[in-house]
Symmetry: C2
Subunit: 450 residues, 2 copies
């Protein structure tokens, strides 16, 4: 069913106040699809929809809604209804919602909670949203290592339905410290009297709550985990980060990389307001304007040369532009490599040497083509030779800066994916103009005499 059709049906049922039809619609589709269709409803319609849904469906909708929709939904209902709803929800989802609330209402709602819940939620609220602590769920399945297999299975019957993952069971000691993990398959196939401590795996990969979400995602994907446990400094189990949240992190980081590379905020959407878009994009453009002036003043240095051979002004843009393209290529390979592995000094030396050879080869090929066309168009052999040499020179610049800029940014712990581009293209613009126009200036008598 298309999103528009869903919305159509939603309108029908709120207009006719057909509660059964609306709940029926909800239950016969995936909650995430319903949530996405509901995003475009006006506030008043959204309020009605939510009111008409059953408690179970309200909870399911809340869980699948994105941050913005959750906040809108939460605003439509009073604190008492919100608390009833929360009582059906996972703690980490409640934390996400409260985290987006204005401070005033957050305090109000927290104060209305039972003190046990309030403590858990307040603790969770302290972790940054993009850390392991901010991502984790407390709905994990943990068994004491001293239990027998039969006791363990009995426990799972009781608490299993409330947990996010049951395939992996976490094993703790009496101080609730994580001591191992247990594969549900092993539990099911072991003799009933066996102690859990004897069938668990002792080597557990875990994180502490302050670990950045990107690092969490790396571990989960590297070790093919369903979930990764989050433990305190004293190794007490605090929660788990599940693989579905990790996928969201990976996609989010991907989007950020792509957009930041282009100087756009990762928050910008097609429907971001005009004012917001201006605030997101203008600063980056002004930074680029500064670098554009750098390149422009380089050209200005050679005004008298250009004045004598005006063809230079058309040809110089080829040299600078091609350097930018080649530099971006080198930079991209480096940025990817840095995101996967550490680069040793020896690898760096070898890599840079290769980039220089590559610059020589790519520069020579592009330089020959450009030189021939320039000679043919302008009828000046020296102009062709100069552009050939300048092209090689600027491709060497591209290789050096494309290689070293990401490496140095990584060394000083800046994100090479974000900042490399502007330094590399500034170098290839400024030095590209400088090399080409400088050569033209030196060989000016030859250019004029030909």
């Amino acid at each position: 069913m298309e999103e528009n059709d869903v919305r159509e049906k939603i309108y029908e049922s709120i207009t006719s106040k057909d509660t059964a039809a609306l709940n029926n619609l909800f239950e016969n589709m995936e909650a995430i699809d319903f949530a996405q269709a509901a995003e475009d409803l006006e506030d008043e319609d959204l309020r009605q929809v939510f009111e008409m849904l059953s408690k179970d469906n309200q909870t399911a909708l809340m869980e699948e809604a994105d941050d913005e929709l959750r906040l809108r939904l939460a605003k439509t209902i009073d604190n008492d209804s919100l608390l009833t709803l929360f009582s059906h929800m996972q703690k980490d989802d409640i934390v996400d919602i409260l985290g987006d609330f204005p401070t005033g209402r957050r305090k109000e709602v927290l104060n209305l909670m039972k003190s046990g819940d309030r403590k858990i939620i307040t603790d969770l609220l302290q972790y940054p949203e993009e850390s392991a602590g901010g991502l984790m769920s407390t709905a994990y399945l943990a068994l004491n290592e001293d239990l027998t297999v039969t006791e363990g299975i009995q426990k799972i019957h009781e608490i299993g339905p409330k947990t996010e993952v049951i395939e992996t069971i976490y094993v703790t000691d009496r101080q609730h410290r994580l001591t191992g993990t247990l594969d549900l398959r092993d539990l099911l196939s072991s003799p009933g009297a066996e102690k859990i401590v004897n069938i668990m795996h002792g080597n557990v990969i875990f994180v502490t709550p302050e670990v950045d979400q990107e690092e969490v995602a790396k571990l989960v994907s590297r070790y093919d985990l369903n979930a990764i446990p989050v433990v305190s400094a004293r190794k007490q189990l605090l929660g788990i980060v599940t693989v579905d949240d990790v996928i969201d992190v990976i996609i989010q980081e991907h989007d950020e990389d792509m957009l930041q590379l282009a100087g756009v905020s990762s928050e910008e959407r097609l429907n971001t307001s005009l004012g917001q878009s201006v605030r997101f994009r203008l600063p980056w453009l002004l930074v680029n304007l500064a670098t554009a002036f750098l390149a422009s003043f380089t050209v200005k240095l050679f005004e008298s040369t250009i004045n004598q051979v005006v063809a230079l002004s058309a040809i110089m843009t080829i040299v600078s532009g091609m350097g930018g393209n080649a530099g971006t290529q080198t930079m991209s390979v480096l940025v990817r490599e840095l995101s996967k592995n550490k680069i040793t000094g020896a690898e760096a030396a070898k890599g840079l040497f290769k980039e220089l050879l590559l610059g020589l080869i790519d520069g020579a090929v592009n330089g020959v083509v450009t030189g021939i066309i320039v000679y043919w168009v302008y009828g000046n052999l020296y102009l062709g030779v100069i552009v050939f040499i300048a092209m090689i020179g600027n491709m060497l610049v591209a290789g050096i800066f494309g290689f070293l800029v990401p490496l140095m940014l990584d060394k000083i712990h800046a994100d090479p994916a974000v900042a490399s581009s502007i330094f590399v293209t500034t170098a290839t613009d400024v030095l590209g103009f400088f090399i080409f126009l400088g050569l033209a200036n030196i060989f000016l008598p030859l250019l004029l005499g030909a």
Copy 2:
């Protein structure tokens, strides 16, 4: 333990032929970490390591090795040992390995297999590597819908240990057609005599084998699945794609997007050979060279204007460069949006209108700054005014092309992430030069008279 330390220990144990130490090392670390340390071993050392490992550890190493290492390992052993190893491995891993084999050896190995296995493997080999069929595993857990809960649990005890996922159980009818899924929690908490058909979920999200891996990843991440079933045209269950493979797909597609945007092959690594790098990068540079000449010839059209006001040659690069930056911003937002949602005609119209306003505002701000600096540096008011107008003009060009190019590429089913960039920057270069130099040409008397 660092990778180098692991390699050190590996060397120690092969030099001293200490089989126990090597296997001990393997079992006390994650297989993927061992595999990555083994990647840098010479062929002969690798052969020795593999020979010294126990069958179980050989299998674990094979499963975690990347494509290249797997192939190297497989080459070190003869067909009989390979078949013994295969008998411990998942079918989809065997297919991955055989898929990389030269045709000759693949046929040899296939012919040595039992005919049942050969049929399964041959069938799996037919799916493209980057499709649901190429990714799927046949180690799923399926139960007939007519079984009772007790019978189902019994079955899971038998086949559970051999499956990749047990949290989600697939339910089939007598013709092995997929009719539902079953949460293991529900199975464990239901009365023993209940039929499975009565406790399963009927709405299943599935794919057919030819579906592209990117689509598979989208569904798994959207619906938070552990695995997605792959079914034939007649809905018979063929296999499942598990979430860990989906994460690999998402990361791979991410890398491809980033690198293709820069005109680099997604296969290029830091240690790619020089010749290979030239083959990867040179074609893209030559395509860009063609577009660079387009821009260059645009400048050439105005040679006589530049000849009279040489300052134009330095200033024109600012206008073209800033247009490129603004166009890349717009394009990036669009490309991201297209990767998530369909854009309706109304949304497109509204979005384009916003981009035009944005171009006006960003162009005006950058234009004023540029105009003032130009006036101050060159002392020519008309030059300042012309660059102000040209900047707005080129930012409008950036908005229009940055918006429409990805949209049109998506319409003709080309990948907007890959191809947009070159069209957009060509437009902002060519039209940026044209607008600025064209205006200068029209108002030449004013420029000269001032």
